[in-house]
Symmetry: C2
Subunit: 281 residues, 2 copies
Amino acid sequence: MRVIDTLAEMQQQADQWRREGLRIGFVPTMGYFHEGHLALMRHARTLADKTVISIFVNPTQFGPNEDFEAYPRDMDRDLELARGVGVDVVFAPTVDQMYPPGFQTYVQVEEVTRPLCGRSRPGHFRGVATVVAKLFQVVKPHVAVFGQKDYQQLLTIRRMVEDLAMDVQVVGHPIVREADGLAMSSRNTYLSEEDRRDALLLSRSLEEARRLVSKGERNGEVILGAVRRILASGPRVRIDYAELRDAETLEPVQHLEGPTLLALAAHVGRARLIDNTVLEP
Amino acid sequence: MRVIDTLAEMQQQADQWRREGLRIGFVPTMGYFHEGHLALMRHARTLADKTVISIFVNPTQFGPNEDFEAYPRDMDRDLELARGVGVDVVFAPTVDQMYPPGFQTYVQVEEVTRPLCGRSRPGHFRGVATVVAKLFQVVKPHVAVFGQKDYQQLLTIRRMVEDLAMDVQVVGHPIVREADGLAMSSRNTYLSEEDRRDALLLSRSLEEARRLVSKGERNGEVILGAVRRILASGPRVRIDYAELRDAETLEPVQHLEGPTLLALAAHVGRARLIDNTVLEP
């Protein structure tokens, strides 16, 4: 496994593979790996000849009062885990490589970045789209794999790739959960034992919504009412949003007809957690 | 010479050339060719094995009260001229191909797009950066040639390419002028005979500025005063801006020390013309 920390070397490696006719799979990450990351890497390996992952805690997707500094990092452990999965290249650029002095170019995806986390975290998706656009120029992947836990991020990347005709296949991977249902997240490390019990209410409320829909419920208010009641039963849970939206356009949904995203964000202790499911009426 | 009108075919052609180890040169244009365009194409041919030009009047770089509809077009003549220069592919997508329903992704370069034409034409450079970013994803050039008449556009593209690590070499080409000094432009076709006489004052004022600097003048106000006097001598000239700016950052310049852009925009008759020179004190 090769570790590359400059853009030029990464582009050279990608060019060489492409000249040899090899297919490049890519998983961009912010590191501090859990089973969710490793599942994306394993999936990328099945789709490509060479697998590149990036580890880069991207400052432009954090707000001024968010956890950029505190975000957990453990490069040695990450490299060990990536090696174990059979990754070919870990691309780990510095902030200065990615954002040199004078940097002033941003990629903005509009409609799909406005609601949900876009409203709670202004500028977040501009940072995400910009860094992924840049990583794509450097890693030159044929296929890139993103987790569906960050559903709005996945939609944003899909739109960017389609709108700018980036020649990359974007693949979503189902949410990977702990045995008890908690969606895996590097930010779960922020949870105390008591926080963690309450954090389970997110996935539990999604289950309840799926149960209601499977029993024929189509009224959005009824479904969200049940979700909010479950979340409110946890004293450590502070809801940021709980919304139903069209699974492709993210337009609000009152009455379920097609595939509908149920998206949650909540502060639990000092962590801000997100989770979601696509309801199929 | 092949004419391609879909993104997918263009990407396939580019991929094939790249697999064969061929170097792709690219000149993006809005068509209605003059000698300036042809000079860019000839230059691109010297830098690459295969030369692609695009012809696309890009709606997103025109303001609501600008000349998108009126912009001159003559595809048959353009194809003839491109063939004469030895272009390999003319890529001429439709507006629907470039901006399909639901399109919502834009590339924004910040500081260098704020002054000059960025102030007169809000959104213009966002449209330029977006369409060029997309064309680069489709044509996959190794090198792209832009005219220096659109100096701020060239700087914007350079910044975008550097900031997003696009693997494209951006080459500027000197302004091509008519025998009498008028910078070539597709919009010169808007000029009446009387307009055209006054339009000459743009290049003439640039000459005067160069003469002053060569004689040792370094005071920006003195230089701009002379420029404005010359422009004001044309009754059909309405100055949009005449400014001195750092040739790389576009920061305002009062006293000339390094390479300094003297940039002009003026309405002459119903045409809005631009011209510039880099003063080297």
